[in-house]
Symmetry: C2
Subunit: 346 residues, 2 copies
């Protein structure tokens, strides 16, 4: 089963497209700031929504195939660009993902950057979820190539658990791009005759006007934990996810969707009545009904909150995110025991 990835294109003539590029770059990029967080895998939720809000229309978003693990296939990106150009439209941005929402997949950024470089396309990396991995010497190789991106979105409120909301947009551009694209020079709000450097007033660059100082959370956390403290958080999350996977393999009621490469542990709980019935025709359909029932039970019990979702042709499965630095192996043992307890009659 293949996933798909977004490639943005404009179906206007090259002159109009060029005139729009500057604005659109800023806009699409900033969209990642206000959207918050979601990966582009499968439904392209934020990218398509952004295209709709920006007036580009959702048809401007083209999907690129991904492999079974949810990683973009660079050869298909190349193919989609050729197809788009053959139709006379002008591709301008590729949105790759480092750490997709459901499977936690990391796209092959070096190969994608090669394609972007060859065609002169803006490379955006949605590292909202996976960007924090860069803090780990052990695991940062997952993002090899991200240094070639034109823009990167990163949410420290995810893996690093800064308070909601804390979103960073990193740009290669050093010419004050956001100011040039979005600045509206409202002199009644952003006075130019202040006694300090007014370049410090960043409000005019962004969508919102009244907003919280979210960057302070990251700064404080980094000061308090240090780079090594944050690295430990990331490494511990990987280690605990690995522990959970190994424990699942020891129990007969758990079936992994795949070996995780990140801290997304995707699995089915197979209740007693379905064990050994993998070959039956209605197995998948019945298995897909298990997660909603267990979710209802755990919520009403008040014992846990684990998300589930369908994904492509796969029916509902749980997605356990092992990220909270306060988690221990005992918590994960509890999780497995509790699922078995809640699902023993199913």
């Amino acid at each position: 089963m293949a996933d798909s990835k977004p490639l943005l294109s404009l179906d206007w003539d090259p002159v109009a497209a060029e005139a729009l590029l500057r604005d659109v770059f800023g806009i699409v990029v900033d969209e990642v700031v206000w959207k918050g967080t979601r990966a582009t895998e499968k439904c392209h939720y934020s990218i398509k929504k952004g295209a709709a809000f920006l007036g580009l229309g959702t048809d401007s978003v083209r999907v690129v195939m991904a492999d079974e693990r949810g990683k973009m296939i660079p050869e298909d990106l190349e193919r989609q660009i050729s197809l788009a150009e053959a139709e006379g439209v002008v591709p301008f941005l590729v949105s790759a993902t480092s750490g997709t929402t459901v499977l936690g997949a990391f796209d092959p950024l070096e190969a994608i950057a090669d394609v972007c470089q060859h065609h002169g396309l803006w490379l955006h990396v949605d590292a909202a979820w996976g960007g924090s991995v860069l803090l780990s010497q052990t695991h940062r190789h997952l993002l090899d190539g991200i240094q070639r991106a034109d823009s990167v979105a990163w949410n420290p409120h995810k893996l690093l658990t800064a308070g909601l909301q804390c979103s960073a947009l990193l740009l290669r551009d050093t010419t004050n791009l956001l100011k040039r694209c979005h600045g509206s020079q409202a002199s009644y709000l952003f006075q130019q005759d202040k006694f300090y450097d007014v370049a410090l007033d960043t409000g005019d660059k962004v969508v919102q006007c009244g907003r919280r100082v979210d960057c302070l959370k990251l700064w404080l956390m980094w000061k308090a934990q240090g780079g090594q403290g944050l690295e430990r958080r990331v490494d511990q999350a990987f280690a605990l996810a690995g522990y959970l996977v190994e424990e699942m393999k020891k129990r007969e009621g758990f079936e992994l969707v795949m070996e995780p490469e990140f801290v997304n542990v995707c699995f089915w709980f197979v209740p007693p009545s379905l064990r050994g019935k993998q070959g039956s025709l209605d197995y998948s359909g019945r298995l897909a009904k298990v997660a909603p029932v267990l979710k209802e039970r755990m919520v009403k019990e008040g014992s846990m909150m684990i998300g589930y979702q369908p994904h492509g042709t796969r029916g509902n499965f749980f997605r356990m995110i092992v990220a909270n630095p306060a988690l221990t192996q005992a918590d994960l043992d509890f999780l497995l025991d509790e699922l078995e307890r809640l699902g023993q009659d199913l």
Copy 2:
């Protein structure tokens, strides 16, 4: 001197415009949610910025004249609509303001609603700042006609001092418009097979994905203070603003920009060297340089923070917002004394 007000129009053909109306309504309306807060007076900061982000382009925003107090002139709105239609473009939304940022002006909503009704235009009221006045039996007449609006934006984090950010969008529509316009049905985030009414999951209606539960602040505050408690806040703010104005009239160094109708007290501090020189040619230019100097001094002193801005042909003046429910007359006396002290050598 006249201000100007925004009138949005689309310079596309009627069929295309009609197809866009549904999306655009939702989008422009929601823009008021994410922009936060600013009034449309003079620079049309948020409206123009929204039009740029939405891909409509800032040229789609037409300005309507306002009177000396910053109130929209309905006759000019009528004239602008005729002009737009004569050019073959399709007006679709009028953004009126209840409580402009600088002057605190309330547009004549009844007359504007008449125009909108006559032409079939969406009436949006940006009541971000002034909407809280509805809680006061004494002052709510300032918003007469707001019940005819199609959409209203209101920021309880302003006059009611809920914690940043707390923005409400009120819609006349009861057919789940935002869901229909913005929903992108990301099944991996917004599962439909939950055990409770999934209409309670509002996330798919809005721009952001990961976001705080800002409405809780309003709910808690309202529960804690009651309608009467919040009404007292509003009435007290009006009373204190009136006190400040009367005290200013007793001191020779203060010149009001106008009698306020809201809690925005706009004034110049006239330093000793400029008193009695109103007739001199360079008076306005020299007066405009006073506020930035005083602002620098109060900030470095750490004693106060009062905003200033130019406005139309008026040079820099202070805009004291009397809103904090903890303010007392003594605080306002201090403000006046402190300005006199900081400006005595100017």
